[in-house]
Amino acid sequence: MLSLLILVPLIGIVILNLSARAPARRLAFWFALLIFISQILLAACRHPVLWNVEMKQIDTFFKVSLSMDQISFIMLLCIGIVSIASLLVARHTIYDEKELFKFVNLLIITSIGMNGIVLVKDIFTLYIFLEITALASFVLIALEKDRNAIEGSFKYLILSAIATIMLLTSIALLFMVSGSTSFEAIRQALNLANNNIILFAIGLFVCGLAIKGGLVPFHAWVPDAYSSAPAAVSVLLGGIVTKTVGIYTLIRLLIAVFGFDPSLKTILLALGALSIVFGALAAIGQNDMKRMLAYSSISQVGYIILGFGCGTFLGIAGAIFHIFNHSIFKSLLFVNSAAVETRLGTTDMNKMGGLSSKMPITGTTSVIGMLSAAGVPPLAGFWSKLMIIVALWQSGSKTYSFIAIMASVITLAYLLIMQRKVFFGKLSIENENIDEARIGISTASIMLAVIIIGSGVFFPLVFNKFIAPIQELIIR
């Protein structure tokens, strides 16, 4: 069953591309929508009957070792939701049918890569799926082939190549120590041996993933890639790609393979705090909406790392819940930015103002996204940040707890600045005749806003169903 998450989209792409005709191109959008909706329903349902179905014909031919746990369910849910949002935005921002078809192909491949990252149990296979996601992202960023997009893609490509060297070197060293590339074999080998080579390998791997995840001080590519990419690609990158390839992978390997070393916890806490503060302060001075959201992403990722660095159940659960929340509210804010960009033709906030009167759905959903990002109750973002801050306090990291609280205030400040510049204030004469965003973009906005409100208001249900079961993985 798990292998279908990779095989079905792949076979679909091959079949759709065998025919270069218009009907196949139009069908690609609906095929992508169907597979993402199916993924969301399967991940939300989590029924063992569905997930444990043996597919003898496929398993005989395609012998792969994949696994699924509670964290994987949450990630698959995020991947499905953000991919749908990106698809809906692309429908109304990429006007050429052939270009949209190329985007859909790359989107499906990116989702295959991310699904693979979430499901594999082997470190080399993990690396291959990381590279699949990265390669598809390069091409997506440069999709419009204008100068800024190519520059953004180039920066991402170069820094990703440096990350690749680190990851490969680390895998080679771990293979040397353990004789295998499976998570279980490496974990057992690391339990038996403890030397400088292993520490070096773990350090290299963490650095490589920090580059991929856009953590400070490895974040240089993030603002350019996010701001210069097409609107639909920004939704995908900001919403889920960096969370999956960098942060989720780091969490998975530390829980399942490397284990928690006290020195590693200290490094994670420091990196997290640095990212939170730097991202928040850099966001304040931005005039470009997408660039501000990019720096905001860097800051929010810092919260996730901070929560994870606690090492306690509450911290790790808060970190994973914040991955989910960040995927949703950041995607929503990027969708709003796409809505504004399609109507105004710019993301310069100095040329905006008073748009909420003309774009009420975009304005309202933007406020919801902003409040969740700033951690205002009872929205979802409040709960995950609360869990992280309480976990930090309980584990004795009171200074980091204080930093997280202060950074939330700065987050509220720059997001309020964005709201004021874009949606409130006086509407300029040039923007008198603009309309609300098109139906697809508005649908994506409403969908994401409803998830934010629902996850916040029904937090006890969400916690019991999705977050509490994570404890079993951490105790193991």
Binding site: F62, K102, I109, T125, I132, L135
Partner: protein
């Protein structure tokens, strides 16, 4: 392998050099299989022949192409700088062959069934092979998308 190396270094265009690099890696893969290191061979195939080639092609597609005049000038300069390489490679090949014959060095045949190429690639690393197929698809898509004529007015 030496021919592929020569093609990589002396090639007129970056794309041809990249293909030469992929060929070199493919030959190294075969050598590793013959030297009873199937896992290393699969990793070499996955990374150097597949992934790295696609990364190179993607990078090249983001750069400004050279004019014909620039290509000819660069070729002349490269031939001057590396003109000695073919002769050096022929001399080294003859020397290595001589050493091999003199010391009776042979590559042992693969005797262990577990180390058979097909078994390793299909039974042990099937997901990696699937990943390679996906990487090739990305490479093809990347070439189609990025090698189309860029908007000239942006440059």
């Amino acid at each position: 392998m030496l021919i592929a190396v020569l093609w990589t270094v002396m090639g007129r265009s970056l794309l041809k050099a990249t293909i030469g690099l992929a060929l070199t890696s493919a030959v190294v893969t075969i050598l590793m299989f013959r030297l009873n290191s199937p896992l290393a061979a699969v990793f070499e195939l996955s990374v150097c022949t597949g992934l790295i080639t696609v990364v190179f092609v993607s990078t090249i597609s983001l750069t400004k192409p050279l004019t014909n005049k620039e290509i000819v000038e660069l070729s002349k300069e490269r031939n001057k700088r590396f003109g000695y390489l073919p002769i050096l490679l022929i001399v080294i090949s003859i020397a290595l062959t001589f050493i091999r014959i003199r010391n009776n060095i042979i590559i042992p045949p693969v005797t262990t069934p577990e180390l058979d190429v097909r078994r390793v690639m299909w039974d042990m690393r099937q997901l990696d092979m699937l990943g390679q197929i996906i990487v090739v698809i990305i490479g093809a898509l990347g070439v189609v998308i990025l090698f189309e004529e860029r908007r000239r007015d942006e440059w």
